[in-house]
């Protein structure tokens, strides 16, 4: 390819074409990937009403591996996060406003509105996303997916759909657990280091937080739980090229999931703000 373009290397037109070609290939690749994922999403959703697709053992297995398997790291991460966020907010309140009374309310709100949702989402995107893409990717390059199709088994029903349902359930649960653990550690920190009482903290929470906030958190959790497995499976099913292909697909899947979570977080935050 590049040899042909170098023949007329003095022509600026050729230069521009060359640059477009270099930029174009990854863009084209990205566009192809995203289109395939979009289609996969549609295919997965179309299986929702079909009772035969709801295979309980597969779904429970997927919940155990993705949800329960991620539980330790979510708990540990959110515990530390709760401690750190309290310290950070305390520092900000102290430095600029010279008052610490806002800590419980501010921290509590931030945790429920953002932190407690974002942390499990990012962890799921990287852990479950990577594991799923790696697993399905290696199945693809060792021709197991083709074997399934030849046996009359639809990969979307057999592989993607259970993970889709399981991930939404796991994500919702993990989000609630994450919020609880973060709050717990934040309260502990506030009590131990900044001399609040648990009652004060809980009062502040009751004042500022309502059911709508918890509902928003749950919805965000479910949405994130919905897109991550679809992106992961999408990259896995498109994987090709042996060991190297599996590696590339896994990397791209993690990055895409993370970006998708960030963008959706923004969109949902904006939407909820306008609605409530």
């Amino acid at each position: 390819m590049s040899e042909e373009l170098l023949i007329n290397k003095h022509s600026t037109g050729r230069h521009i074409l060359h640059i477009l070609h270099i930029l174009g290939r990854p863009l084209h690749q990205a566009a192809t990937n995203w289109w395939a994922i979009f289609i996969l999403f549609g295919q997965t959703l179309s299986r929702l009403p079909r009772a035969s697709c709801w295979r309980r053992e597969e779904i429970i297995l997927a919940i155990v591996s993705s949800g329960v398997g991620s539980l330790p790291i979510v708990v540990v991460s959110t515990a530390f996060a709760g401690i750190v966020i309290t310290n950070e907010i305390a520092w900000h309140m102290d430095t600029a406003l010279h008052t610490v009374s806002m800590i419980p309310g501010f921290t509590g709100q931030f945790i429920i509105r953002e932190l407690g949702i974002a942390i499990p989402a990012f962890l799921l995107a990287s852990k479950v996303g990577a594991a799923t893409t790696a697993e399905i990717g290696s199945m693809k390059v060792t021709e197991q997916i083709d074997a399934l199709r030849l046996l009359g088994i639809d990969p979307v029903t057999y592989l993607v759909f259970p993970r889709f349902i399981a991930s939404m359930i796991s994500s919702a649960c993990l989000t609630l657990i994450a919020i609880a653990v973060t709050l717990l550690c934040a309260i502990t920190m506030a009590v131990l280091r900044y001399h609040f009482s648990v009652l004060e903290y809980l009062n502040a929470l009751r004042h500022f937080i309502g059911m709508s906030d918890v509902l928003c958190a749950l919805v965000k959790g479910i949405v994130f739980g919905a897109i991550i497995p679809v992106i992961a499976c999408g990259y896995g099913l498109q994987c090709e090229g042996g060991a190297e292909g599996v590696g590339t697909a896994t990397t791209n899947s993690v990055v895409s999931s993370t970006i998708a979570v960030i963008i959706l977080d923004f969109v949902l935050t904006y939407l909820f703000m306008s609605v409530f």
Binding site: I73, V76, A81, S126, G247, T251
Partner: protein, 270 residues
């Protein structure tokens, strides 16, 4: 229960030990070989360029999310004037280094683990060793240094984009114009803030680099092994960064109180 915890403890020690030994090898090789900056610089360029779009994208949106959330919360205290400073400070001090490291871990860490893992399972690393070259020097050191240096560069760029994005969103959606936004910044930010952010960035970058290189280098088992290496790299990096976040925050706040103390001693303003 006790057995489970014991097993967990053993695993943790094993893992940390392996990592420490690997880090030692990298350090020894870096120090003993005469500084050949060529491969390192080319890695820095490649890594920074590849991550730029991701960091820029994420930076804008993360800044936007923080602005929206902080605005809502501050409104309840009637303290919206502090939005600019709070947002910028939060970005530089904690959110910026954290998000950039997560992205770095995802894009570059996973890629490095995959690349090295593939080389390992196709025996390329053995071949390099048999042909008389030290694979740590040839493969690992440039990538390691490349990632660490890039993390600082990407932090600077990411913060710039993030703050700009925040300002724009604040202006159009929260009704805080650019001047108001900027005026509250000096209240929250000092040189220490930037140094703290950089310190965190370098620490997290080192974690990403170390874990990614280690998991890739020790991969085994064909295509499956490469996938496993990438997954392990992703998981462990996140875990260590979370713990490091806590530790670095503690260290920085301790340093801050120390500097306050010295200021007091010197009789200067607090």
């Amino acid at each position: 229960m006790r057995l489970f915890l014991q097993k967990l403890g053993h695993q943790a020690l094993h893992e940390l030990g392996d990592l420490a030994l690997f880090a030692g090898k990298i350090l020894r090789t870096t120090l003993s070989t005469h500084g050949n900056m060529g491969p390192v610089l080319s890695q820095v360029a490649s890594i920074s360029l590849r991550s730029l779009s991701t960091v820029a994208f994420a930076g804008v949106f993360v800044g936007a999310i923080l602005v929206l959330q902080f605005n809502v919360i501050l409104a309840k205290y009637d303290a919206q004037s502090f939005l600019g400073g709070l947002n910028t400070s939060a970005l530089i001090r904690s959110v910026g280094p954290l998000i950039i490291s997560f992205l770095l871990a995802g894009k570059i860490g996973a890629y490095t683990a995959a690349e090295l893992g593939t080389m390992r399972v196709t025996e390329q690393i053995d071949a390099i060793e048999c042909l008389g070259t030290n694979p740590i020097q040839y493969l690992i050191v440039p990538r390691f240094m490349g990632i660490v240096i890039s993390s600082v560069i990407l932090l600077a760029l990411g913060l710039l984009i993030s703050v700009t994005g925040s300002m724009v969103v604040a202006n159009y959606s929260a009704g805080i114009n650019f001047l108001q936004f900027a005026s509250s910044i000096p209240k929250f930010i000092s040189i220490g803030t930037f140094l703290g952010g950089m310190f965190k960035s370098i620490t997290y970058g080192t974690i990403v680099a170390l874990v990614a290189c280690h998991k890739g280098y020790t991969a085994s088992g064909g295509a499956r092994g490469v996938g496993k290496a990438v997954t392990l790299a992703a998981v462990y990096t996140n875990l260590y960064i979370v713990i490091a976040n806590y530790l670095t925050s503690e260290i920085l706040s301790w340093l801050e109180s120390l500097s306050h103390y010295f200021n007091l001693l010197a009789g200067g303003p607090t």
